[in-house]
């Protein structure tokens, strides 16, 4: 039983900046908002801590998707960390695009106050990946 549900529901690994996105997810929790349980957050001190190797490892060791989320550009706690994130993840997306699996990776900005935006973003991503997964299983 456990195996079955595990296969049907996608698992998403999210790398969340501890100053913005992770705070937003905590706020979403305290406001009793619901987001899919397949979304597993990993707290990182800054989104630029995410070496694209982490994302590649997550995806090739079983995750159906991965996202990197941080503060809006210009609002980084470390002044300019997320500008580097943007370059790195944009390049990684381009690489995934070259391997025809662009849909597996997302990058978005969520500030600590935007709990609703966080829930919308992750739910949207989760549903899209789930749909694609179901389609593939049917085919």
């Amino acid at each position: 039983m456990a195996e079955e549900t595990k296969n049907k529901n996608p698992e998403i690994v999210g790398f969340a900046c501890s100053f913005c996105t992770f705070k937003a997810s905590e706020m979403a929790g305290s406001l009793r908002m619901k987001y899919p349980e397949g979304v597993k957050l990993i707290q990182v001190p800054c989104s630029s801590r995410v070496d694209p190797a982490f994302v590649i490892k997550a995806i090739f060791e079983g995750a159906d998707g991965a996202f990197v989320a941080g503060c809006h550009p210009g609002d980084c706690h470390f002044i300019k960390g997320n500008y580097f994130t943007r370059r790195k993840i944009a390049a990684l997306k381009e690489m995934f695009d070259a391997f025809s699996m662009k849909e597996k990776l997302r990058l978005f900005w969520v500030s600590a106050a935007e709990a609703r935006r966080f829930v919308e973003k992750v739910t949207g991503m989760y549903n899209e990946i789930k749909e694609r997964k179901n389609e593939r299983e049917k085919a």
């Binding site: 190797a53 490892k57 580097f84 390049a91 690489m95 070259a98 978005f108």
Partner: protein, 336 residues
Amino acid sequence: MKGKKLKSGDIENALNRFLEEQQHLVLGFEKGESGVSHRVFKDSLDHYSLLNPVFGANAALYLRRLFSKGSQVMLMLRPCEIRAYVELHKLTQIEREDIIAVSIDCPGTISLKEKKGDIPTDAGQLMDYFKNPDSMRWACSVCREKRGVLGDGGVRIDKAGNYWVIPYTEKGETLLSLVEGEPEDVPSDMLIGESKKPDKFQVDMTTFDKDFEKCIMCMNCRDMCPVCYCIDCVFHGDEYLPKGDALLNKIFRSGSTKMPQGKELFHLIRMYHVSQTCVGCGACEEACPQGIPLTKYFKGISERLQGMFSYMSGRSFDEPIPYITFLEDELKEAED
């Protein structure tokens, strides 16, 4: 642009004059009995060859962690090797002060693995030899920069087959001053022209799996890559590619696994890590015992990723590597 035309023997004399000084070295090519190979010359040149039609390894590999104090090293290498040297300088693996990098026009090379019989070392004969594109290495047939326009100076070949020494920086003048004769205007038309822009690289994981099926994870590609320089590679240790107990624990956690495991992980992570610095020399493919078309992937991905930032690895010393710099207003389409 001013340069000096070389008569036969001129470059050997110039380099010999350079080597007369104490602690001066030349890294170039030597024509031996069995073929042409890299050699570091001390005191005087012996069987020196300006061109090397055989590709075995990228010489920038030997220059990693070169912080020569007080000595002078003249590099007389192919453009791809000079490009890798420029990238390694940007990655602070080489100090530039004591190095004079001279790139030499490269008509193309053949693989050391497939070398049969004698190959000419003269530019004109080589161009004829490579008329048939199949005789060239694949990496060289799609090379982005075969012209000696990089580094401190260049040796170019004009349409008539004459060699020219052209300085690009102050250090390049050192070589020029060692060559006899007066500087003349360099002809604008050269034997080796600009390479054409590559097509956009597109592939899928099925093709990837098929191409990398033969991979045995020996990691020769990593060890021979001139720009894959980390001393503490992420693939050391048990984090990414577990062995022994760590491997068993992982299998108990995640289920049965095909061995050798982690092929996609290894190649994709390496592909990303060298994406902005890869010069597309094809040293990885030369080192691969299984004949996997690594250049196709590494070169394709790196050109796509460098294209995003209008960057070309090894083009100049002044361009910073895109991942360590940024613009405040860019890449809006990357956000979801």
